[in-house]
């Protein structure tokens, strides 16, 4: 899967309460949730994000609540890939399970700035920062995780469990 988009960059420990505040969890519709994505730390995000854009975060991205509403809101906002230095574990498995592409790449995170254009080849695990002229190779997912991704998420994979 080929990805190309502009960077929205955040820091360490981006928690699920800022990705989608609990006060909006009285609905489960993806589009309604996405309208409030990131608003407590970046009110401009939802106005500026375009389909295909890339979210970049530091360590422990998606920490806190188990709310799947967080990756759902990010995905429905148009974000095609989240790159972080590390992911909190529930966010990690939720993203795999719902088919939101994620990659761990500390070097890319350090060098990326807001607005940089990033391309990624998910199956090869390669990220290119077009603006900076840099290329990064990420560690591939374990085979089992790759199978869930290839199946298009956990519900499609469930028949094999």
């Amino acid at each position: 899967m080929q990805i190309k988009g502009s960077v929205f960059k955040y820091g360490d420990n981006v928690d699920t309460d800022v990705i989608i505040p609990a006060r909006y969890l009285n609905v489960s519709d993806a589009k309604l949730l996405s309208e409030h994505c990131m608003e407590d730390i970046d009110q401009s995000f939802i106005k500026e994000v375009k389909d295909g854009d890339v979210m970049v975060g530091g360590f422990n991205f998606g920490c806190g609540s188990s709310r799947e509403h967080a990756p759902i809101a990010i995905k429905a906002s148009g974000i095609s890939l989240v790159i972080a230095k590390s992911f909190a574990r529930i966010f990690y498995r939720n993203s795999i399970n719902i088919g939101l592409p994620i990659l761990e790449c500390p070097a890319c995170v350090d060098e990326a700035e807001k607005g940089d254009v990033i391309e990624a080849d998910l199956s090869a695990g390669v990220i290119r920062n077009v603006t900076k002229g840099k290329e990064y190779q990420t560690t591939p997912f374990p085979e089992f995780i790759q199978e869930i991704i290839n199946a298009g998420g956990l519900t499609n994979y469930a028949a094999r469990m």
Binding site: N26, C63, R67, E68, P71, S86, I90, T155, A158
Partner: protein, 419 residues
């Protein structure tokens, strides 16, 4: 190679004689649970996939987050989960006057026992590690697939050992210990790992304290926290009506990525400052900063159990909450609520000018029943103090024990309890 407590449970539930850290396994679940916030997403995923519930007796829903229904949308979400539970004959369904905060009510009703493997679409599902069970928070899709297959995929966690010795000093408790640990290792200090509590100090901890500690394992990024079983665990499980359980013990040669030795007598009373649970200071340091409070919350899956209520009542007996402070008391389950009522705790709280709430997660996640305005500060016995967690994005939450929270309610400032 030896296994930890967590690894032994995962091996058994995966039908393997041995597992090792980082291995991916398919685990047969004893229970999967969700609430009124994560349940609707799970139901959507489940129905879209055309799944059927495989083991109705291994599914549980607790409507506790935005209940009693705070608005029409929340009522719709509860209705969706209620209808789903009815359709699939799910008897472990708790709402209204039968519901309490999920991670308090499940152990109380004997729904989780030692040796179990549990997933919950709520990050604080790790609470049940206090019972010598493996339990971890997952998302709604895992819940949906868990209901359909009775299984979940797990990466066997690496282990972090916390070797406890000694006894707490006066005024110090389990909440202080877990806030202290998180202040030392950080909010990702145990990322993807298990927190294994061992050593002679475990025996000094009450079951309620073990629930508090295991509950906040997620705040260090852990997959789970787990305690060994002992006489206290046995007594708790028997009282809850549990049968057919067995304790797991770590092998002597189990592999731990890190070991932290903690003498309980050296643990200070802690307050975690905004906006991360790792921002711990001692209560004496916090007191010196003269932090004026607008609200105090005593409750939640972390510290809403009867012993927490008792501690708060002892502090407030015959006294009054400081002017301008709203003090919310939220017993976590109907049973705890009834105990508070019958033992006269509510009289103490009401005379002290507190607000007594029905069991609910309510303000902990900024849902309802005590939301903060712009610039307001709260001290809370809950588990998270992220930006906007209890309300306005510019409000602040300080995390502490019931003793520190109740003491501070009386003065209106974060205050160290009298020695």
């Amino acid at each position: 190679m030896g296994m930890t407590m967590t690894q032994k449970i995962l091996a058994k539930k995966a039908g393997l004689s041995q597992v090792k850290a980082d291995e991916l396994v398919l685990v047969n679940l004893d229970l999967c649970m969700a609430n009124d916030v994560t349940g609707p997403v799970a139901v959507n995923v489940f129905e879209k996939a055309g799944f059927s519930v495989k083991y109705p007796d291994k599914v549980c829903f607790v409507l506790d987050h935005f209940t009693p229904n705070k608005d029409i949308k929340s009522a719709q979400q509860c209705k969706q989960v209620r209808e789903f539970a009815k359709k699939w004959n799910i008897s472990k369904f708790f709402e209204g006057g039968c519901a309490g905060v999920e991670h308090a009510i499940l152990p109380e009703k004997g729904i989780v026992k030692a040796g179990d493997a549990v997933i919950g679409a709520d990050s604080h599902t790790c609470t049940y590690g206090a019972l010598n069970a493996f339990s971890t928070g997952v998302g709604s899709t895992d819940m949906a697939v868990g209901m359909a297959t009775g299984k979940a995929w797990m990466k066997v966690p690496r282990a972090h050992r916390f070797n406890l010795t000694g006894k707490f000093g006066k005024n110090t408790c389990g909440k202080d210990l877990i806030l202290y640990i998180i202040s030392k290792i950080g909010v990702d200090g145990a990322l993807y790992g298990s927190m294994e509590f061992t050593g002679p100090g475990v025996g000094e901890l009450t079951m309620d304290e073990r629930f508090t500690i295991a509950n906040m394992a997620i705040e260090a990024g852990a997959k789970n926290g787990i305690f060994p079983g002992d006489d206290k665990t046995e007594a708790y499980l028997k009282a809850a009506g549990c049968k057919d359980y067995s304790f797991v013990t770590p092998d002597d040669d189990a592999v731990y990525e890190t070991t932290m030795d903690i003498d309980l007598s050296q643990v200070p009373q802690m307050v975690a400052f905004p906006h991360l649970p790792e921002n711990g200071k001692t209560v004496q340091e916090a007191e010196a900063m003269h932090i004026k409070l607008d609200q105090v919350v005593i409750g939640s899956c972390t510290n809403g159990r009867y012993s927490d209520m008792e501690i708060a009542a002892r502090v407030m007996d015959g006294k009054h909450v400081a002017p301008g402070v709203r003090c919310l008391i939220i017993p976590a389950t109907p049973k705890i609520w009834t105990q508070c009522m019958e033992n006269g705790l509510f009289k103490i709280f009401m005379d002290a000018g507190c607000i007594v709430s029905p069991p609910t997660c309510g303000p902990c996640l900024g849902g309802h029943m005590g939301i903060l305005a712009d610039g307001e500060k709260a001290i809370s016995t809950t588990n998270r103090n992220f930006v906007g967690r209890m309300g306005h994005v510019e409000s602040e939450v300080y995390l502490a024990s019931p003793l520190v929270a109740a003491t501070s309610a009386l003065t209106g400032y974060i205050t160290a309890p009298a020695e």
